[in-house]
């Protein structure tokens, strides 16, 4: 019974976003342009010999970006949404309903996110395929990569929820989002694989949770190694658990403050 609630929430959230198709998917179309520009850029970097950079061929490098870009941009404005609801006190609406607020948000945003991920990834793949070429992937590995992507999106969601709740103290949602986004771009390895960094920075970045949103799942995608699978998935699960604990605690404190002191 409880699960049906959240499934229904996901469904209605998708219908609601589909009311304005163009608005919903316009972000997804933008990825085409980005991939196109990066193909030109990497072409210059790799030069005519087109060898390997840190173990990546140019095709791997671009397809890596297709996946990280799709993961990172699909969730949309969760952080701002939650920050807004907390600042305006609209969150109160959700407090006396028989569901969990974070669960409600997860259900409603995950459905939208997955839908947008499919479109974004599709557009990105198309551009990469047409202007550069394909990537060698074993079909058997795809389900594992999908699981890893799903976990990455969940972790991404949880961190944004946490930051959204922190807006209660930080005050400015869009600045918080801006900083977080840049951290994921660079330290999360969205723009390029972490191997390109100096070793010390690569090591730090690879250990941080942000790289489990972009770098690790994308590396699994372009350079699948059975030896990495369990470590990546387990670490993703670990970070998700840690974030759930932190979000729960911070959420309770925040809601208590709101309930005591108004929105």
């Amino acid at each position: 019974m409880t699960l049906t609630k959240y499934i229904e929430i996901s469904k209605i959230s998708v219908y609601n976003s589909l009311a304005y198709l163009l608005d919903f998917f316009s972000g997804s179309l933008f990825i085409g342009l980005i991939i196109f520009v990066f193909i030109q850029l990497w072409n210059v970097v790799y030069g005519p010999s087109a060898g390997l950079i840190e173990g990546y061929t140019i095709n791997m490098m671009v397809w890596y970006l297709v996946l990280t870009e799709a993961i990172v941009t699909s969730p949309g404005k969760i952080l701002e949404e939650i920050g807004d609801e907390i600042k305006t006190g609209n969150i109160a609406q959700n407090l006396n309903k028989p569901y969990n607020y974070v669960g409600f948000k997860y259900a409603s945003s995950m459905a939208r996110t997955l839908l947008r991920f499919l479109i974004t990834f599709g557009v990105g793949s198309l551009v990469a395929y047409v202007f550069l070429g394909g990537l060698e992937v074993k079909f058997l590995t795809l389900p594992i990569i999908l699981v890893s992507v799903f976990l990455a999106l969940t972790l991404h969601f949880l961190i944004m929820v946490l930051l959204g709740i922190l807006v209660f103290w930080l005050e400015d949602a869009s600045a918080t989002y801006f900083i977080y986004q840049k951290i994921v771009f660079v330290l999360g390895g969205m723009l390029m694989p972490l191997e390109i960094f100096p070793t010390w920075l690569e090591k730090i970045s690879a250990a941080l949770p942000f790289s489990y949103i972009a770098y690790h799942p994308a590396k699994l995608f372009v350079n699948f190694q059975w030896s990495n699978v369990s470590e990546v998935l387990l670490k993703q699960l670990m970070w998700i658990m840690i974030m759930i604990v932190i979000v729960t605690i911070v959420y309770q404190i925040c809601i208590r403050k709101i309930s005591l002191n108004g929105g």
Binding site: Q93, L95, N96, S259, G262
Partner: protein, 329 residues
Amino acid sequence: MVAIISIKNLTKEFKTRRKEAGLKGSIKSIFSPSYKLTKAVDNVSFTIKKGEVIGFIGPNGAGKSTTIKMMSGILFPSKGKMDVFGYNPQKQRKDLSFHIGTVFGQKPQLWYHLPAIDTYNLFSKIYELDEKSYRSRLDYLVKLFEVEEIIFQPVRKLSLGQRMRCEIIASLLHGPKVLFLDEPTIGLDLIAKKKIRELLKRLNENEKVTIVLTSHDMDDVEQICNRLIIINEGKIVYDGSTKDIREKYLKYKVIKVTLERQVTSLGLNLLGVKTIENEKYTQTLEVDTSKQPVQKVISQILSKHKISDITVLDPPIEEIIERIFKKEL
């Protein structure tokens, strides 16, 4: 009848941050923030019985909404005891949510881009209703609120009055015993207001749902509530039947006349009529309707003067409160 809600010595204090003007003040408030305590609700006690329709009325910032929010479990009180059907709203808000419905005039719960029916279906799942009873409940409410067509149109395309009717249905699907409404008629035009009032009245008569609403519109309360709680500056100023208030304090009407020519006095000389304001062309009169029918006053003004505008008003809620204070009820 038994009390279903009892509130004892309820107090709510808000801490607000104070900041002195200018950059110096900003820096100072970072290092040593100073807070100001405001009492939004101050030692309020009352009980509500099953089937009552209660209006909380008072000027803006009087503490009406805060009281309703505490009863529905959204805000926690600073002090005091609350019992809503045996639940403590502060500790059991999820359990309580199955028994109450809330409508906040300024915070819609319907999904904006979808027809209301989609939100209803979702709510039926959220409140764990079984399909059959939900269908018959929905049919009944849709007929009662006369929204048969409207619920299939996207909410964003509805008028404010239609939207409010749909909002109220959303809060009634799970058959709550109490309906809390915070400013349900805010921003509505007269006809839409009237409609909402009628519906709430019918709902109360048909289902014996207890209704607690806030408003700063005296008309709202006068027409649907059998009991009135007037709140001012966090304190209950009056708690009693609406009839009493009407007889004691609403027997006054205010007439505002704008004349075509300037006169020093209207020269009415009628019992129970007092001039309270006298500006160039506009005179404001107060009529004690127990002594003098409004009709007679108007017809006399019309027969003596050429007027360009005339309006009849109820005295504003602030004035009623002031009167109550003066008579120390």
